[in-house]
Symmetry: C2
Subunit: 651 residues, 2 copies
């Protein structure tokens, strides 16, 4: 860890700042002094034992800016202890991953000397975050300077201050040198290569590395489908038997792809030490509030919120709201079909180049409206889920994901379902699918990367100009860098990125048998997506804290559900195709029964496949078993020694 | 633990015998002496530290009987230590379940004085079994007296001797007083009451108690279905709308019933301490053999067997054999239909009482043949699975269960499927279902309880007579009791009992909408089943070792699969019913599409229901979380103290 920048600590030694803590501008001095002393105090006195200093005011003229910015760092020794507290898994000299302990530090593969470079920057910042988060109130009944702001013994101080707005934010800062290195082998060269997952993990942590791993894996897995899809477009194949073939391939592919991903991600997570690491005990989320009560688990007094009330809010407010939104979405869809037929009638009256362009207008407008509705709904869903007052972040996330997924699914695919199964117009389906897919891709890339970047750039330019006036062409000093990063947008996690891939997966798999080219479009999109996502992580958003993740969580379930729905839709589409219907000229019943039988066989096949393919590769399983065996043996040996000790003392 | 019987140990004190160990009659004296010293040796010298004595020869004339019977017992202290080694969970004074440690013994609820009565008899015997099983070779290269019988360091001695036939068997002995107490409140009174699960668990352990818990739960859950089913029989309801209603009720019931069972069994297992207990490291099964190799997990030398060879045996021998058996089963079914039509033609020619009885003959013969084929197949499946040479007992069990389940399912239900969907004869279906169900129930009860009991009784009588000649009307002395129990049949585990319930569940759920009375028959069967199962456990079979179980394992999956298949069959049956077909007079396609839609909705509903209902009840979840929280806190405190120590010594 070699930073170009360091600050002077109050004991005369300098330290490398890792995290920035911003307090509200009007915070009482008493409170600041108390908080800083808490952060600096020795652990046995209930402190975090970290280094913290106020950000020096910049060299340029004093502006009316919040002076309450603090830089937090740590000694190596403290970070290593923190890694042990957190139960970080590191590679042992025998190639297995084990929980790091300071006492055994020399048995770990990457540990040299005093341990410099043993922890990644993301891990260091994560440790500091964890230590700050677990600063707990001891005897204090309230926050000094705020007599009304009660503290509960054993509860996180930082969370409390955060939910009361005294702590505005705290975030990890970028490391210019490392960032340059990362970006140069990530997105600054246009050449075909695998994602530098190890580097991403080193700089941003496991959660984000796993997302890029998934993005890469998904894209690569789509390539064969895309290659098979191209001749359909080139030779204008309209034979349905070819489409049937493509659909069956696609369905098997989607099952195998998702199962193999589980193994692949288990391997990645094992190598990163997150697979077998235990989850930390979950604290209430900052926004949670309630009346004082007894926590049944910890036995401590803390704010509690009645579950019945929450259920009432969910079922009487959130659920009707979601249903209303779905209704509106379907209504908008019907308007779109009205516009579509209007455009068609205009074109039919006067078929010219201009009116033929007009044919695309409704789809494009509809795609834009869908994106807008998704965006608006996202805000509403977040507001509502927040208002439901979930105690844990995980429960909050689950309710948010469910709300957003259902709406996005209906909003994006309802019109396609309508065209496919009510109108049964395959040409229109293909046309709409293409327009929706392309428009939403373009919109997405603009909205999530280029627009924020442009806004960010405008702000940066101002700062750069101001600094240049004072300092010339030198690199931006740390003070300015911190202030710049403070103003950057916060990256809200991988949610939106996964959601986008989920919808793309829907476009590829749901209607694959009528539009094989979808895979090609998604591959093309994802190639640019990799670059724009990488760019936005490095330059558009504030650096996020590392999220230790052992899998892609709820998204695995979401993708699997989509692949099951794809079996229904593809079987139904095949059943509707005229060529298949020609095989059963005498009776429709025969056709339908066959399609249903095929569907059931495919579903059974999917379940059996998912059951047979082990989720964790054999060699990782052996490594895990080895560790378990050794810990059992060690325990036994310890017991035997103890027993021998006791019998000795008895004699 | 108050036994009426005890033996004199070699140090002059007497002990209560818990387990009988039988060695082959021709075992070398050297080997016996070595094994006994291993069992008696102190733990720090690699022994089991148990008490063991040879069974005294009986008071009557010496007969030519195997003298190598040994009684194994233990001191209380040793049993308590063993409970700690095993990680037994016991109720703590605060009502949660915690791993027992001898140091904290006084904080456990049921621990009084020196701990007498703290462990159940089943637990004591299980501890002794575990201690015997984990007797490991240390420096010995081979078994003394058998230079060819190699021993591998760190591998179980008992397993090795067992697989070489030197140890014939070892089993826990009955406790006459406890057995009398148990049987009196279990099956010796004909009154409606719940099963005495706590007593069963105390005497036989968790695995069996869970089976009886499931049997009771399943029977009670069937009662409402049976009550609804009775009027169908009484009033001869033939309206299909009523049958549809019954089928829908049945499908929802089967989902809810299985989900609620998970919660119920979690609650039982939590109270018995098996829910959160870690599984022990699995040893290779006694029958496993192979060439010497390196175990990748333990890093030790031991027999290994190539996985490829095993796969070849499975796919090239076992699989074709199973398929052949399925073919034979289907062939027998076709013969049955031939007989059936023959009987019908005879009856039609000459309809009399005698020929009307003849109508039942084919079904009864077929039911008997099915039972016979199941029995024969069972032996073949066990032989084959054994030959596949699985290393672990769990893997052996999984392969055996899969083989047996598939065959039993086809064998029992193929004819019903054929009648329902190929012949589409609902009257015949009802008739066959009833005959199959009743015949197989009667056969089962005879085969599994009364026949073995009768054989057992004949043997007992001989012994009793002989003893009475010598001792008069006194109770059987222990020596004779041990010899009697030695000759009893071995109970092979709950497999057959669960299998029977599984098939009954199939009869109830698969065709519920044509024969609602099935539930009544199954309830009646299970009421007698409870008694015959209880009786056979107490008097027909050798007492089995306790099997710690936290759930019903693979059977949960089997029952769930059956309830999914039931959705298909019931929907199809409803679609075939004439009254439903009358609703869609103009087009069959409309009918089929509706049925398929209903089927999909029901399946989706099942999955959502299974997803929503939490598998572990809230209060148990809180207790588990509490324990985890406390262990995390304790670890933290320990670390803090250590850190304080270190900083003190530094100063």
């Amino acid at each position: 860890m070699q930073h170009g920048l360091s600050v002077l600590g109050n004991d005369g030694t300098s330290f490398v700042p890792l995290v920035v803590l911003e307090l509200a501008e009007n915070t009482e001095d008493k409170t600041i002094a108390w908080l800083l002393s808490k952060i600096r105090d020795k652990q046995q006195h209930g402190g975090a034992e970290l280094l913290v200093e106020q950000l020096p005011s910049g060299e340029q003229e004093k502006r009316k800016e919040n002076p309450n910015l603090f830089l937090v760092g740590s000694t190596w020794q403290r970070l290593l202890n923190g890694a042990e507290d957190l139960g970080l898994f590191k590679e042992f000299h025998d190639g297995t991953m084990r929980g790091f302990t300071y006492a055994n530090r020399d048995s770990f593969k990457e540990f040299h000397g005093d341990g410099d470079g043993f922890l990644s920057i993301a891990e260091c910042q994560y440790i500091i975050k964890h230590e700050l988060d677990t600063l707990r109130a001891k005897d204090e009944a309230h926050v000094p300077g705020y007599p009304k702001l009660k503290l509960y013994p054993g509860k996180s101080i930082i969370r409390r201050l955060q939910s009361k707005g005294i702590i505005v934010q705290y975030f990890p800062i970028h490391d210019k040198d490392e960032l340059k290195r990362l970006s140069s082998n990530w997105y600054k060269r246009v050449k075909l290569s695998f994602q530098p997952l190890e580097n991403i993990r080193y700089y941003f942590g496991e959660g984000l590395a796993l997302y890029f791993g998934f993005l890469e894996y998904f894209t690569l897995a789509l390539v064969p489908m895309a290659l098979i899809g191209i001749p359909y477009y080139l030779f204008d194949w309209e034979d349905y038997d070819k489409y049937v073939l493509f659909a069956v391939l696609n369905l098997i592919w989607s099952t195998v792809f998702l199962e193999v991903w589980k193994r692949h991600s288990a391997r990645l997570a094992y190598g990163w030490g997150t697979l077998s690491r235990k989850k930390a005990f979950e604290e209430p989320r900052p926004g949670f509030h309630g009346v004082l009560g007894l926590n049944p688990v910890t036995g401590r007094e803390e704010p509690t919120y009645s579950n019945t009330k929450r259920q009432l809010r969910i079922y009487l407010v959130s659920l009707p709201f979601v249903l209303l939104c779905l209704y509106i979405s379907l209504h908008v869809m019907m308007i779109y079909f009205g516009m579509e037929s209007l455009a068609l009638s205009i074109y039919n009256e006067d078929p010219s180049f201009l009116t033929s362009l007009l044919l695309f207008i409704p789809s494009i407008i509809y795609a834009v409206v869908i994106e807008l509705m998704n965006l608006l709904y996202r805000y509403a869903a977040e507001f509502l889920t927040n208002w439901e007052n979930h105690r844990l972040e995980s429960s909050f996330q689950n309710h948010l994901v469910l709300k957003v997924l259902v709406f996005n699914f209906i909003n994006c695919f309802a019109s396609l379902f309508y065209i496919a199964f009510v109108m049964q117009d395959m040409a229109l389906l293909r046309h709409s699918l293409a327009t929706l897919l392309i428009t939403s891709q373009i919109l997405n890339q603009v909205m999530e990367a280029f627009l924020p970047y442009w806004l960010q750039r405008r702000r940066n330019k101002k700062v750069h100009k101001r600094v240049r006036r004072v300092m010339g062409e030198q690199e931006l000093p740390m003070v300015e860098q911190v202030r710049l990063e403070r103003d950057m947008n916060t990256y809200l996690g991988t949610f939106d990125d996964y959601l986008e891939q989920f919808l793309l997966f829907g476009y590829v798999s749901l209607f694959s048998c009528v539009y094989p080219l979808a895979a090609v479009l998604v591959v093309l999109n994802n190639i640019t997506e990799v670059y724009s996502d990488a760019f936005k992580m490095c330059h558009v958003f504030k650096r996020p804290f590392s999220e230790p993740a052992s899998d892609i969580g709820v998204w695995q379930l979401a993708f699997e559900t989509m692949s099951i729905i794809a079996v229904f839709t593809n079987c139904a589409l095949i059943g509707l195709s005229p060529q298949v219907q020609d095989y059963f000229p005498e009776a429709d019943t025969q056709l339908i029964l066959t399609v249903v039988a095929v569907e059931h066989v495919l579903l059974a096949f999917k379940f059996i496949l998912a059951f047979i393919i082990p989720d964790i590769p054999k060699d990782i399983q052996i490594k895990l078993a080895k560790l378990e065996f050794e810990s059992v043996e060690a325990l036994k040996k310890k017991k035997m020694l103890e027993a021998a000790e006791i019998s000795k003392t008895k004699k």
